[in-house]
Symmetry: C2
Subunit: 207 residues, 2 copies
């Protein structure tokens, strides 16, 4: 089983790279599906799960619940619980034994024993702001300054969450096989090259 | 003209990657040739030039000279002078207008206006120690502990030299297009994948 994990700075195009890579390699693709599974199993709102997993703090006040505030998860779903559930979901994905690309969720750390190929995606702050503006949903109309603040806030939390579960730093070069800087880069072309690298790595490993 | 620069941690296999990449791409290759040119032009010993360029200090005491201690370069060749000469030599290489791979020498910074494709090569410390032992010259018989000390010393100096000439940090992910970690990696296979990435990058850029 070949597993490719993608960690990324917010707005760097890591998700697009992951999707294209999964298409080119013919691998399964996991991203928001993990959040949706956790939310569905515990009757939690997806936004709450996402917020809990990326918040800097271990204890997160619940935002919304699908059904009722008397849900046992109201008390029992602080960040650590959700992190553990996330680990279970990711372990279940690995247990399927199918080649896959997993974006985010510190899957590189959680699936360490499966020896995944780990990619980190980054980009200059201006490229990331431009990308966020280009891809904003209808009605989402943040100023570049506000987007920059959001990017820095999310990345700070990703860094802290990683620190909770691993001794290897988020975005530090030794923690990954490959770091790609997508500034001024066509992600479609990049994905083709990265695809060759991943294929060669697994060819060597399995030979 | 396509220029690929390779910066690297000592012992990470950056030179081998650079050579293989130049072969695969059919590009010219520059590494020790730059040191040899500086040494030859100024009647200096190659080891002295290498030492001066990687020393942490701006003023370097001369080690040996090919001809005489009364050479004008005895006084006139502190690190900054040699750094400037290195810039001239690298500019001359670029002025040839031919596709090339340049290993080391902060060529990514010095040739910034040519918009090179910049790669950083790293590896875990144990992989680097093993590589140094495997490739030691006859008679060179350092203990793993001594090799580790040498690696850390050289990298510290590379970092400091970079700091002298650039605001972008050595080995920092935003300073490069690609960072590859060669730990447990067959560099020959890696070079094939990196070759595809470089080709795609230049295809996009020149289209």
């Amino acid at each position: 089983m070949n597993i490719v994990t993608i960690s990324r700075e917010f707005g760097s195009g890591g998700r697009e790279l992951g999707k294209r890579l999964a298409d080119l390699l013919g691998y399964d693709y996991y991203d928001k599906e993990i959040i949706a599974t956790i939310a569905s199993r515990h009757n939690l709102d997806e936004n709450y799960v996402e917020h809990a997993l990326t918040s800097a703090h271990l204890h997160v006040a619940p935002l919304t619940f699908k059904h009722s505030f008397s849900s046992p998860m109201y008390i029992a779903a602080p960040k650590m619980e959700i992190l553990l559930e996330q680990k279970r979901v990711i372990d279940e994905i690995a247990a399927l034994g199918k080649n896959c690309v997993i974006v985010g969720r510190n899957a590189d750390v959680l699936l360490k024993e499966h020896d995944p190929f780990n990619i980190f995606v980054c980009a200059d702050i201006n490229a990331r702001i431009a990308r966020c503006i280009e891809r904003a949903n209808d009605g989402e109309n943040l100023s570049p300054k506000a987007i920059k603040k959001k990017i820095n806030h999310i990345d700070k939390n990703r860094k802290r969450t990683r620190f909770l579960i691993s001794e290897k730093d988020w975005g530090e070069r030794k923690s990954y096989h490959l770091i790609v800087n997508t500034t001024d880069w066509n992600i479609s072309s990049l994905a083709e090259g990265v695809c060759e690298i991943v294929k060669n790595w697994y060819k060597d490993k399995n030979s």
